[in-house]
Amino acid sequence: MIQLIEPYAEDKIRALKMGDMVHLSGLVYTGRDAVHKFLHEGGKPPVDLQNQIIYHCGPVVIKEKGKWVVKAAGPTTSAREEPYQGHIIEKFTIRAVIGKGGMGPRTLEACKKVGCVYLHAIGGAAQVLAECVTDVLGVSLEEFGSPEAIWAFRVKNFPAVVTMDAHGNSLHAAVLEQSKEQLKQLV
């Protein structure tokens, strides 16, 4: 198990390899469809994304006694952000993207260029992952609706697997290829 702790320096990220299991601790910003489209179209980010992590997540957050409490915080499907992600990684020097299902060649290319990784969270594990969020630091772009806003979370020991690294390796591409080979033996 690798501890990935903020600050997310480039050399730490480049040292990660496909298949590494990590526990992430530090700041992450949520962002899904609306945020990606906004940033891609030149929108000015309300937070400093430089050297930060974007989490594809539409959390359920409610206010209890004047404090934000995260009720569920699992990943959403990343593939929808493929048209935007590569550009956003390069433009803002994003160090990691967390999501599920993996991403395509443009994102992989940007990871290599910038020094960024794709961290695959466990899809559906809403409760385990909500427990990893120790603090809600704030919310911006709330006008997109709560699940689509940028939430700043502090997480502790957030479990994920590096499925795309900064050296051009993608576990998704590797498993796809291998499973297609296997299928040939079976049909």
């Binding site: 009720k71 699992g74 499973s179």
Partner: protein
């Protein structure tokens, strides 16, 4: 219909927070199949902790609480309109209480209705049956896994799949390949051979009402179900698509008659968060049995 609202509310809560025992049994056993220290084992361990934690906290297992699908078998004289009205109230209340996420969006305006009510939500499928009791079942089916469902029209040249069980097998295995990494595997397949495009998909979802360990009474389908699970697991896709031993936890196949001109294979993919529950109500509206 006395107590129906409270009973349906409890049905929604249980379905959203607690996986049925037959599902937990196969997930727990699959977790032991993965190689020590592998990404797949890591994923399975987090999945099993999540199952325990959701039950303990009585909180949604997954934040996508999915499409709300009721399947009701009711005796003659059962008031379907009254049931539907109460079911809608229960769904709205369950949403307000956080058992369900606000999950129903107007397809034209993009606006979330905020209470899970709207055209098609919840979906209630009624059937009449003999007897005096009502059999009420609920499936919550998430979007990620619904998106990877597929319908094949055989023959299929790309797959070299003909209109026979071998062709069906090729179609199903292709769907498993296409679904990899998406839909939160390991998954469970509900499949229908035949029917039209609408009845085929519906029947594929009805297969998901079957128990994990039941045996298909039709020997050729029973054999195909077993073969699909074994073959899919040889593909090595594994939990979350990380690579590993368990790609599928189960496969349930039914058949409907078809037109001579059509041969559909309809596949509904269910994620590991296989949320289904149900109960039997006696004629005074009391729950006499939980079904899963």
């Amino acid at each position: 219909m006395r107590n129906l609202k409270a009973n349906l509310l409890e049905l929604v809560r249980r379905t959203s927070a607690e996986l049925p025992d037959d599902v937990v049994t196969v997930i727990t056993s699959a977790a032991t199949q993965e190689q020590e220290g592998s990404n797949a084992q890591y994923a399975m361990n987090i999945i099993t902790s999540n199952i325990d934690m959701a039950k303990l906290k009585s909180a949604p297992l997954c934040q996508d609480t999915g499409s709300i699908l009721f399947f009701v078998k009711a005796p003659k004289g059962f008031d379907q309109l009254a049931f539907e009205k109460v079911a809608r109230e229960a769904v709205a209340e369950a949403t307000a209480r956080g058992y369900l996420r606000q999950n129903s969006v107007d397809s034209l305006t993009g606006k979330n209705t905020g209470n899970n009510l709207g055209p098609g939500s919840p979906a209630i499928h009624f059937h009449q049956h003999r007897g005096t009791r009502a059999d009420v079942r609920l499936i919550l089916k998430g979007g990620g896994c619904e998106n990877v469902g597929a319908q094949y029209s055989l023959p299929d040249v790309r797959l070299n799949a003909n209109r026979d069980l071998d062709g069906v097998r090729k179609a199903i295995l292709d769907a498993v390949i296409q679904a990899q990494g998406k839909g939160c595997g390991p998954g469970i397949l509900g499949v229908c051979i035949g029917g039209d495009r609408a009845t085929g998909y519906l029947h594929s979802k009805e297969q998901l009402l079957r128990m994990m360990d039941d045996v298909n009474p039709e020997p050729s389908l029973s054999a195909l179900e077993k073969d699909i699970v074994i073959s899919a697991n040889k593909l090595g896709i594994g939990p979350m698509g990380f690579g590993g031993a368990t790609t599928l936890l189960g496969c349930k196949i039914g058949a409907l008659n078809r037109l001579p001109a059509s041969y559909f294979v309809s596949i509904s993919y269910m994620c590991w968060a296989y949320r289904r529950q149900g109960f039997i109500l006696n004629d005074s509206g009391k729950i006499v049995e939980w079904l899963y």
